[in-house]
Amino acid sequence: MLHLFTVVIEVLAGIVAVTALGIVAVRVLRKRWQRRQAALAAGPRRSLLAFVADNGEEGSHDLVAIPDDAWRAAEPGALALLGKLRGEAHLALVSVFLRRGTARIALANLRSRSRVKRARAAQVLGDLELRQAVPELCRLLTDRHAEVRVVAVRALGRIGDPTAAWRIIASLDRPDPVSSLLATDALVQLGTEAEVTLSAALDHPQARVRAVCLDALGLLGAAGSVHRVARVLRDDANLDVRVAAAVNLGRLGTRTACEPLALALQPARPAALRAAAARALGELGAPAAVPTLAGLLDDDEFQVAHEAAHALRRLGSAGTAALLAAVEIEAERAARAGAGAHARPSAPASHAMEALALARVSAEPVGIGA
């Protein structure tokens, strides 16, 4: 037993010593590697910056001629730079990547067995905004690994080809769908050309798809879709979809959205929908909504009354007048009841006072960090 103990102690001491040495060795090796990478990347980085500063007009041959090991060291920086450039400089740098064969390698890697390689390749193709890659990236929307699908959606959004809209929408209708937020973001980046597809998808049987399309239409400012969105708000069977419809009618900002939103405020409707509709009316900026919203200040649902007060605040002078009226009614009531100045205000007055105070603070000149 003691002998076994001794052996264990010796082995343990050895492992402890090796681990301690390993820590030191890792640091030495990493520092050497970092120095080498920095030295390799220094030249290409200078050339890249000069190229970009020159708006990509000169120096592309030098960049293409950079040896592979040096380019590999500089490539992460070059890709990051790509995301920050617009216009001619962006196109010129993309052309450098294309001439170096980056896109060809990435396209090939989209079929790699390694999911990390597939995802990296999709990211690169998105950064390059390469339209030829759209069919292959659409194929990745059904990849068995979620992380690859996520990168593919983002890349498709970055490329902005509206023909990908249906494929992105379809990727939402599967048991393990792509994140709704990512899909919406990508669909918005496809631009107004995708509006027809998005509008048609409002009849999709899958609620998630309808909600995503509503968000995309709202963010695109698709004013032509107001009637269809209003119909969804009125008729859809799913509460989340109806809430999304209310939110996006507010974003679309047309006066025709007022009536359907006012209807959604009826007491029989679910509180979440009524709160969203109240908020949307504030976003719309339509003074015609003031009486409706003022009537909600004493709503039993906290969120509805709260949103109504803040919607009135956003509606400017007409809304502020309604809020002041609610406070005055409360003051008169308190006076009649003989309550002192420190009496607890009623719920409508509390919401109105809060909104008025925030309106006052927002209107004051900024003096932060005094």
């Binding site: 003691l2 890792v26 992380e147 994140s179």
Partner: protein, 486 residues
């Protein structure tokens, strides 16, 4: 009779050794899991999409809730850091929980606060009344400071949850300084997998000794005191490696109150933070597991290893003792409160793996350690074990512990290597060795006291937590504007 006692002592000593071997082996497994997870994470950084998330108008907005009680030493640096976070849309809700120092006055002066009559909804219960609500003038949507009478951290957090306007709530300690991308990292899993991710914890590292400028940690250094250096190693092993390992195993039950993000709707649905435990952060996670497992939901509680929240660690034995007694009391209370989940197959990995592990290797570990410190000399005195066995026992138990700490340091060096100086690295190695001589034993004593406190019941106290503040340069005192609600 004497022989029986001798045999009993002998077997107990061997069993204790077996326990230590199992304990440290389990740590090694978790560290290995963490190593795999870090490798996976680092390979994915190039396509993680943090920039896309930052640019997207759809990124879920976050309410950062900061409970503060007598945090005058570091509150301005902490809130300043939060106002400069790289995140598209967020608000900060500081809840001053009855501070008796200048916490509120410092905030008012720095951020030009103005009182507003905000209505505090009662979606989650809070006991101590709210005295006033303040917002930053000109930017009322971004910074809110609530003053309330002292009601404890859970109560303060519940007030913050009630006032939070965004779908995600991030709980951050007032002595924390977040890395600029920290919020982006902990909120990202919610964007990538919004249907399943319900909570995400972030790493907490120790800020003592680091240089903080403009509310950011710009120079990472080992602390000056050995007591804090040892805690650095402990945080690496337990927080960074341990929790990452559990996250990979799908059994994460602790998200530090110093830095964690939760879905607000779920937190509200389960009643917010519990008032009846001092470990309210971990209790919330266990209760989330309880509710979601019961409903047979497909959900995930995840942990991200980088970037991080930097927090001030106790630099005196008195304060450290108070903290560790509190932590262990929290563990005991949570395990007691949710004992019906332990070994209950209905709760899957949480009931069958994570909670039993916490009982055996977290709650009981200090008891076993203290028992070993008593029984071994007793065995020697009673002639149940001989000296040769004793010193070998001690070497194996503590040597293995040393190996675990060094392994954590090794993985840190391979993956994140946040301590760039050679001297700091060597100090880290030395701290991994030194923690076995005195620190672990006194820690066990505090932990046992804390657990017994939970057993006795009665009100738990946070106690005064003395803060020294961060090592800041002069320019950090320059006025800093509140981030625009982007």
């Amino acid at each position: 009779m004497t022989d029986l006692v001798r045999d009993l002592l002998r077997y107990t000593d061997v069993a204790t050794l077996g326990y230590f071997v199992a304990l440290h082996s389990s740590y090694l497994v978790l560290i290995a899991m963490a190593g795999l997870e870090f490798g996976k994470h680092l390979r994915r950084v190039p396509f993680a999409g943090a920039d896309d998330m930052f640019r997207s108008p759809l990124t879920l907005p976050v309410s950062v809730i900061v409970p503060a009680h007598n945090e005058g030493a570091g509150i301005v640096a902490a809130v300043t850091a939060m106002t400069a976070l790289r995140y598209p849309r967020y608000e900060i809700v500081v809840v001053d929980d009855g501070s008796t120092d200048d916490t509120f006055e410092l905030l008012r002066a720095k951020f030009d606060l103005v009182e507003v009559p905000r209505v505090v909804p009662g979606e989650v219960p809070y006991h101590a009344p709210v005295l006033s609500v303040h917002v930053a003038r000109g930017n009322p949507e971004t910074l809110t400071v609530v003053r309330k009478t002292n009601g404890g951290k859970a109560d303060a957090l519940n007030v913050g949850i009630n006032l939070a306007r965004h779908p995600l709530v991030c709980m951050v300690d007032a002595d924390s300084v977040l890395d600029p991308d920290a919020l982006l990292s902990v909120a990202k899993p919610f964007g990538d997998d919004p249907l399943r991710v319900v909570a995400c914890g972030g790493v907490v590292r120790i800020a003592n000794g680091c240089k903080v400028i403009g509310g950011r940690v710009v120079d990472v250094r080992m602390p000056r005191q050995w007591l804090v250096r040892i805690q650095v190693i402990e945080y690496l092993r337990a927080f960074l490696m341990g929790r990452t390992g559990w996250s990979r195993l799908g059994g994460l039950i602790v998200i530090s109150g110093a830095f964690g993000v939760f879905r607000r709707d779920l937190v509200v649905r389960i009643g917010g933070m519990a008032h009846d435990t001092i470990g309210e952060d971990a209790e919330l996670v266990v209760r989330l597991h309880h509710r979601l497992r019961k409903l047979r939901e497909d959900y995930r509680v995840v942990f991200v290893a980088e970037p991080v929240s930097w927090s001030e660690a106790p630099s005196s034995l008195r304060v450290l003792g108070r903290q560790r007694r509190r932590w262990h009391r929290g563990i005991a209370e949570i395990l007691g409160k949710h004992r019906h989940m332990i070994l209950n197959p209905r709760y899957g990995r949480i009931g069958l793996l994570a909670l039993p592990y916490y009982v055996v290797f977290e709650l009981l570990a200090p008891f076993v350690e203290l028992a070993a410190l008593v029984l071994l000399p007793l065995g020697l005195w009673a002639d149940a074990v001989d000296g040769a066995f004793l010193w070998r026992f001690v070497l194996v138990a503590y040597g293995y512990g040393m190996l675990v700490s060094l392994a954590a340091l090794f993985i840190e060096e391979v993956s994140f290597h946040r301590y760039p100086r050679w001297t700091d690295l060597l100090r880290g190695v030395a701290a991994a060795i030194l923690e076995n001589f005195g620190y672990r034993q006194i820690l066990a004593l505090w932990q046992v006291t804390g657990a017994l406190g939970a057993l006795r019941g009665g009100p738990a106290k946070w106690g005064a937590m003395h803060r020294e503040g961060f090592d800041t340069a002069a320019d950090s005192r320059e006025p800093v504007g509140v981030g625009v609600d982007r």
